[in-house]
Structures are given as structure tokens and as C-alpha cells.
Subunit: 317 residues, 2 copies
């Protein structure tokens, strides 16, 4: 199988949302009048973002999901993706499973794969995603105000527990907790529906990819505010509850959860709770934006500081 057969067999699918998809020097896209584009690129490297030998179907899902999560954090709708992939060898079973995972998620959110590149090399995956959002309505990181609530979607800590488990350094945890954690790590769910509905409700948002405290610090810096977070409020699965006090960093600084963290005026509390019920998605108030700078983690509102060994994941630390 050569490079072009490989592309044709596994990655050349109809792209109904594009003028021209895979197969030319570049794809041709017709942006929707009145919309702005949001564009994000992420790169996943074997041994760093995922373990060697991971299930290729889940890897296909995750490669797209981490980019969709950035689009969700902007309040945009995902439209088009490109995929550049370096592979040690053109293994048919691996490619079939990878592309199955990738396209299953793409189809769920109406995303067209419109281009990319395949080459031989250490397993590396790079996706660029383009979304659309009504002009001027993107949810950015720089809109938080002192006094805003801080919210988190879904549950935290699962993915970080799975990373620790596979690395042989997990705290004691139940079988149920590990099974749940592995699913969270391998099959993250991008919060696209939520993201679109946060337009007009959230003052700022980002996705939690490197760890809540560290990610939130970026939002605070760009908004010119500080944040107070409450460990006891951080949402987590029932099976992980015993770990929240014993291993707080999993929840407050663990990466790979791909939940949305957003700020919103207090006046929007009822609307956000109603949205949570409507979407069937947990939305939890976990802290408050205050004046100053930095992120402080307290055990409870008005309580005592919790110290972590690190605030988030840094690829060059």
C-alpha cells in the first residue's frame, strides 16, 4: 500500500460541507456569511500524550476530541478538520481502527476531514480544526470580571487517575474508579453543545486540558483577575470521592479531562442551572473570580489553602 492508496482507503471520505475536500493541493471551503472562523491546532506524540500501544480506535477519537474541545471553549460550531499523521509503518488494522474512531466522532458533530498529510516517522498526530461562530460572539479567555462565578462542566480527575495508574504510580483506588478513569482518559467527550449555549451566558471560558489550576491561571491573566477555587466543590465521580482529599492534585491540577471551565456573572446562575438540566450535563460552581492575580485553592469557601506539588502539566518542565 502506498501513501496515496492509504489516504484513499482510510481518509478520503465525502466532505459535504466543503467545496472541495481531500485530493487537491488544498481544500476549498465556503465560509458562512456573517460568521467568524475559529482555528486551533494540537499535536499528539506517542509516549507523551498517549501510551505506546493504546487502542487505535480510541486514539482516533481522542486526536479529534482534544481539538473539538478547543472549538467548544470558544462557543463555536466545528466545521472542518485537517489531519497530519506520521506513522512508523502503514499497518492496515491500525489505520482502519484509527480512522473508525476519528470519523465516528467527526460524524457526530458534522465535521468534514478536508485535507492533511501522511508520512513515515515516529507516531505523531496533528489536527487543525476550523469552526464558525457568529461575528463578535466567540467566548474568549479575557472577559472574566471580579465577582463572576467560576463553573466547571462534567467531572474532574478521572483522566489524571488513569495516567497515574498506567504509569504505576496511582493512589489506592477501587476497580470501578480505575475503569471509569480509563474511559475518561481514552474517550474524552468534547463539550460542543455546551460551548455553543454558553455564548451570551459565560464571560470567559477555556477547556481543561493541562489541569484546572494552571489552565484557569491563563484565563485569569488574560482577564486581569484572580480566582479562588474550592477543592470540596470540584465535581468528581462517586467512585473517585475518597481520592479528593488524599490526592487533590488529580482534580485541581490533573490534565486530559477536556471539560469546560467558564466564568459567568452571578445573575446567570439560574440560567446555567437550567442549561445543565436541559443538556443532562453536570455544571458545578467551583469558585469565584476576585480582584488581584493568580489562582488560590481553598478546601472550602472561606477556608484554608490546599497546597499542590504542581499546578498543571508542562511539556518542557
Amino acid at each position: 500500500m502506498n501513501e496515496f492508496q492509504l489516504i484513499r482507503r482510510y481518509f478520503d471520505r465525502p466532505a459535504p460541507g466543503a467545496v472541495l475536500g481531500v485530493g487537491d493541493d488544498a481544500a476549498i471551503l465556503a465560509p458562512t456569511p456573517g460568521m467568524e472562523l475559529v482555528v486551533t491546532s494540537d499535536m499528539l506524540v506517542e509516549g507523551r500524550h498517549f501510551f505506546a500501544g493504546v487502542d487505535p480506535e480510541s486514539l482516533g477519537h481522542k486526536t479529534l476530541a482534544v481539538n473539538l474541545s478547543d472549538i467548544a471553549a470558544m462557543g463555536a460550531r466545528a466545521r472542518w478538520a485537517t489531519l497530519a499523521i506520521a506513522l512508523p509503518e502503514a499497518g492496515e488494522a491500525w489505520l482502519a481502527a484509527f480512522s473508525r474512531g476519528f470519523f465516528a466522532l467527526a460524524d457526530r458533530f458534522g465535521v468534514d476531514l478536508v485535507g492533511g498529510d501522511t508520512t513515515r516517522g515516529p507516531l505523531t498526530l496533528s489536527v487543525t480544526l476550523i469552526g464558525e461562530v457568529p461575528a463578535g460572539q466567540a467566548v474568549r479567555r479575557d472577559g472574566a470580571q471580579a465577582g463572576d462565578d467560576i463553573w466547571v462542566s462534567g467531572e474532574l480527575g478521572g483522566a489524571a487517575l488513569a495516567v497515574a495508574w498506567r504509569g504505576g504510580r496511582a493512589p489506592d483506588a477501587s476497580f470501578d474508579a480505575i475503569r471509569y478513569a480509563e474511559r475518561r482518559l481514552d474517550w474524552p467527550e468534547p463539550r460542543l453543545q455546551l460551548g455553543e449555549r454558553l455564548r451570551g451566558l459565560a464571560s470567559a471560558a477555556l477547556d481543561v486540558s493541562d489541569g484546572l489550576c494552571g489552565d484557569l491561571a491563563h484565563l485569569c491573566e488574560r482577564s486581569g483577575v484572580a480566582a479562588e477555587l474550592w477543592l470540596s466543590a470540584l465535581p468528581c465521580a462517586e467512585a473517585l470521592l475518597p481520592l479528593r482529599v488524599r490526592a487533590p492534585a488529580l482534580f485541581a491540577a490533573g490534565g486530559d479531562d477536556y471539560e469546560l471551565c467558564f466564568t459567568a456573572p452571578r445573575a446567570h446562575r439560574a440560567a446555567i442551572e437550567a442549561l445543565s438540566a436541559e443538556l443532562g450535563l453536570r455544571l458545578t460552581r467551583v469558585g469565584a473570580a476576585v480582584s488581584g492575580e493568580g489562582v488560590r485553592l481553598l478546601d472550602v469557601p472561606g477556608g484554608t489553602p490546599v497546597f499542590l506539588t504542581h499546578a498543571s502539566y508542562d511539556h518542557f518542565r
Copy 2:
């Protein structure tokens, strides 16, 4: 230096053509009304697309240039780029030189770097480029007609000679030839001005990245025509002329030249020659589209076939 300091120091530049550049979950772009987007992604892997230890400034140039070349081949104007980069270590001198080469070329063509990703891993570079073209006017691969002329910009064979030279398997060549060849390999010049001017003149186009015969075969397949190429007509530098008969594959099947190959009706010959003079860029008629399928290389028009060991570069061969 952590990941965010690295981005700030080397990759976070003003992006005057974007609503929002580096630093949020995604960039925000306002497409120009009446334009379509063209989008392309390429990935460069150390040891495959470039030699380990290559000058990082030329690598920064080339990483962007190979993507700009795809935009040129569509007849579009380049606007925005993202860069995802995996690095074995965050070496400051390397990063400074790489970003200097990247931004020098970006500035020449008014391209804004609007986002990306940095991570640790085997040296891998992935760029996505977004360009704009008036709706319906992109130059695609599928418009060639039997009877059209086939043209090539610039000169062929230099980059392939440099690859052979560095790999220790070059044919005998002069010092001048090698010096020229290395410059062609390391500092390819994307033909953006030419590309934009080919709208309305060319019936089809692509860039020569994997080798003329192989690349042209893709154009022929999508257009439903065959091609006849004349080895004696393939443009090459004076210093390389002695090699054209001894090592025809360098010219007819060598990769990495990043020239444009395009088809055009005979009625446009004078206009194309005038354009060549205006741009100060050699444009050479190298063959003809004919009915049938496949690409045939002849020594001269109406002459005898030339056989090559391969038609183009294939990453999985």
C-alpha cells in the same frame, strides 16, 4: 523556560490580519466577504523530510514554504498559519533561528501565525495554512483538457541533487552545481505571485513536491487526461545541464523543488510568456496534455521514451 514562556518568546507575534491571534483556545479570523478559503496541512519529520542537524533558520523557512507552495498552486493568497511543533528539547538558539526563518518568510507574504502547539517529542513540524481566493476562481487539479500545454515554473532537479549529495549517492557534479542544489533544497521559494496570476490563465495546477512525473500523474487522473513530457525541455540551471541526460530522474522525478506545474490552453501562450517576463520568473513549456491516461516521458517532442527507476517519492514505499 516552560512551554508558555517558549511560545511567548518565539512564536507570539502581532497578528494584524486576525481578530485574535495566539493565546486563547483558538484564533479568531474574519474571512473576507466574497472569498473562499483554501486550507492545507503538511508535516515535516526529521530524518525524512530534512536531515538531522540542518540549519534551523532554513528549516523555519522551509516548514512554511512547503505549505505556501500548496496555497500558490491553488491560485490563492496566503493569510493565516498555525504551527504545531514537537521538539526533543527547548533549545533557545535553535528556537531563535527557527522562528527567525519562519517569520522572515511569513512577513514577506503577509501571513500571520495565529496559533499552534508546542510539545516535547521527536523533531516534527506541522503547519496548516489558510488562504483566500475569490469564490469559484481557485485553480484546481481537475481542469486540464487534452490539447493544453504543460508548463513548469523556475528550474527542476536542484533539490533532488542536494538530497542525493547529502545521502552520499549523488552523480558527479561540479562544486557550483552542489552549492546551487543545496540552496534549492534548503530555501525553496513558494511561487505565490505566480499562483495568483494564473487564475484565469491556467486550466489546472499543482506544486512539484514529490517529483514532476508522479505529481503530474495526480493532475492527469483528476482531469481525465494523459500527459506527454519532454526531458530535453525540463528547465534546469546551467550548472546542472550535464546531468539532465545522465540522471534524468533528478529532473523528472525529483522531489522538493516546489515549483508550480500547470496546464493552460494554447491560446494563452503569449500571455504566459508575458507574465514570465513581468515576474522575472522562468516559465517553460515542457509537454502537452493528450487524451488517454498516465504520464509519458520522451526525450524530445515526438521522440523516444525515457525510463526512470521511479516516478516520484512515496513515503510508504
